[in-house]
Amino acid sequence: MSAQAVKQKVSVPFDYDKYLRPGKLPHIWCPGCGHGIVLKSLLRALDKAAYDKNDICMVSGIGCSSRTPGYVDFNTLHTIHGRAFSFATGVKFAKPKMKVIVVTGDGDALAIGGNHFIHTCRRNIDMTILVYSNSIYGMTGGQYSPTTPEGSIATTSRYGNIEPPFDVCEMAKAAGATFVARGTAYHTLELEKILFEALEHKGTSVVDIIDSCPIYYGRMNKFKSASQMMDVIEKEGTVSVKQADKLPAEKLEGKLLRGVLHKVERPEYCETYETVIMGKAAGK
């Protein structure tokens, strides 16, 4: 074998086509949007986990991130606004062998879908929830969302947003999710690792993914470019949990923590239904 051949083998590119449906690209996402980067990390994490594509079901609601299922070669379900969790619960509970992934945005998951989000976490039903948090309703042209920072400009908050944002991770944890993590579209390799861990976790796993919308949020809030926005929001605006331990409190002010923030073991819903409910029903 020549040296040239060895070199080529080492640099074999990742085969994204294995997971993407032929003829469905280009995607609808705007230039500078981070959603494609998140998808890349997700596909790599799924490849590492090596699930059978026939067993994967990706469910989404309505919005920019919710268009993801259309591009991937799994069982895919694009539902109605805010209700992806309910449809996903139906699929998973009916057929527990399915690997269910919910792809949603901050508006879809936390505003219109907020009730379903917390109850899904509470049940600890086995599914991985990816919340693409870009702090804006992109599909409808830039309205403020439940994760829009106070003071931010949106088409419906021209005088500055007066509502405090949700902390997605704190809410998921409080509601009962057994795996809670945060990543960003900027830290793509780290995100891949987090997503792999989330997928492999038994129970409800929630990953808050800080992502940016340069077209709407960026322009209205005077960011210079998509990359500068990533620098400010995703790179400078976050600190990994490992680094955070070594930093003084003033250095952490206003920054979001990245990494696995909460991980506990608790009985999973479908398994408990089988062992407890079906078990007791059979005895009666």
Partner: protein, 377 residues
């Protein structure tokens, strides 16, 4: 064969029995009066036979869950009443456009809003047809007897599976809570229909193949990886902006029902052959109407009853035909006038049409109907 044992059963319990008989193995719901007994029975019975019961966080989540579970291959049910039915409307429309079989029971109570939770009503008839936005097909069944709730629930599942569409069962609180002796049919006694599975390999499968009026539906997780969306879509399930395809699909989902009305329609007729005055009524009101028609005949008036068991698609043909033979059609209903407009449309001026309406939470009694029948003697 030995005579089968009768069981005293409530309408809502009979509904659960019918669902189980039809092969329903997934229930998702939210507590609401006067339908809750259906959930209670399903929560006990389903886990005994390998089925799944889940109480969701709200009405919207319940219809979402039954649509998801149906896509995973199960026959699915949810039950509610007026306020919950309002909340389920967006999900109902999704099941129509995405062509997902499922059954929704609405045990009708007084409205609007919270209204009269323990009082009977028939005021969701129009909601069952027009409640969700956009033009869409509607099948809705309206049983009037406890035994019939069981058999019509089986038929609701059959129609849902056959036509890949949601089916709504409508009955009023009186019928839902009434107890009557009924017989549980033996397995095989009533036909049970399962959705068509694709005969082709996955690479040739189109979930919305326009070569079929109703395309086969593959379950998720069995090798047929396909896309489902509430957006207007092509034959492969992916969204489209092509006006021709959008129109074709919107018309096809209507044609599924329109071209099969004869298969879906079901009426009970009483004394219609020589009737001069006809009563048109559903549910508990039809029971009063039958009594009234009988009483009218006792006093020499040729009265009859047309009781639609399928209320949507509306029984146009039966009304149109009978309107030509009778002096009047009387439409008693527990609302301020929903079916009566449809009867007028179908009768098309061939006879007089008069409604009897009541929204005080009390049933329409036979005497009330008899008084109006006598006007047309």
């Amino acid at each position: 064969m030995a005579e089968k044992k009768k069981k005293l059963m409530q309408g809502n319990e009979a509904c659960a029995e019918g669902a189980l008989y039809a092969g329903c193995r997934f229930y998702a719901g939210y507590p609401i009066t006067p339908s809750t007994e259906i959930a209670e029975v399903m929560s006990v019975r389903l886990p005994k036979i390998g089925g799944k019961f889940i109480q969701m966080e709200d009405e919207i989540a319940s219809i979402g869950a039954i649509i998801g579970a149906s896509l995973a291959g199960m026959k699915t049910l949810t039950a509610t009443s007026g306020p919950g039915f309002s909340l389920k409307q967006e999900g109902l429309g999704y099941a129509c456009i995405a062509e997902i079989p499922c059954v929704i029971v609405d045990v009708m109570r007084g409205g609007p809003s919270t209204g009269y939770p323990t009082g009977p009503s028939q005021s969701d008839i129009m909601q069952a047809k027009w409640g969700t936005h956009g033009d869409h097909p509607a099948i809705s069944l309206a049983p009037a007897y406890v035994q019939e709730i069981l058999t019509e629930t089986v038929r609701a599942f059959n129609l849902a599976e056959k036509y890949r569409t949601p089916v709504v069962i409508l009955y009023d609180e009186i019928v839902g809570h009434m107890r009557e002796p009924i017989t549980i049919p033996e397995p095989g006694e009533i036909e049970v229909i399962d959705r068509a599975a694709p005969a082709c390999p996955p690479e040739e499968y189109f979930p919305y193949d326009n070569n079929f009026l109703v395309a086969p539906l593959a379950p998720f997780g069995e090798g047929y990886r396909f896309h489902v969306t509430g957006l207007n879509h092509k034959n492969d399930g992916f969204p489209t902006n092509d006006p021709k395809i959008i129109e074709e699909n919107n018309l096809r989902i209507m044609r599924k029902i329109d071209e099969n009305r004869a298969d879906i329609w079901k009426n009970e007729e009483f004394g219609v052959d020589d009737a001069e005055v006809l009563v048109f009524s559903i549910g508990s009101t039809a029971r009063s109407a039958r009594y009234a028609a009988n009483a009218a005949r006792g006093s020499g008036i040729k009265a009859g009853l047309l009781r639609p068991i399928t209320i949507w698609p509306f029984p146009d043909a039966a009304v149109e035909e009978l309107a030509k033979r009778v002096k009047a059609i009387i439409v008693p209903e527990l609302n301020l006038g929903q079916m009566v407009g449809e009867v007028k449309r179908a009768a098309n001026g061939a006879c007089a049409v008069e409604g009897i309406h009541r929204v005080d939470g009390e049933p329409i009694n036979p005497a009330q109907i008899l008084d109006v029948i006598k006007k047309y003697r």
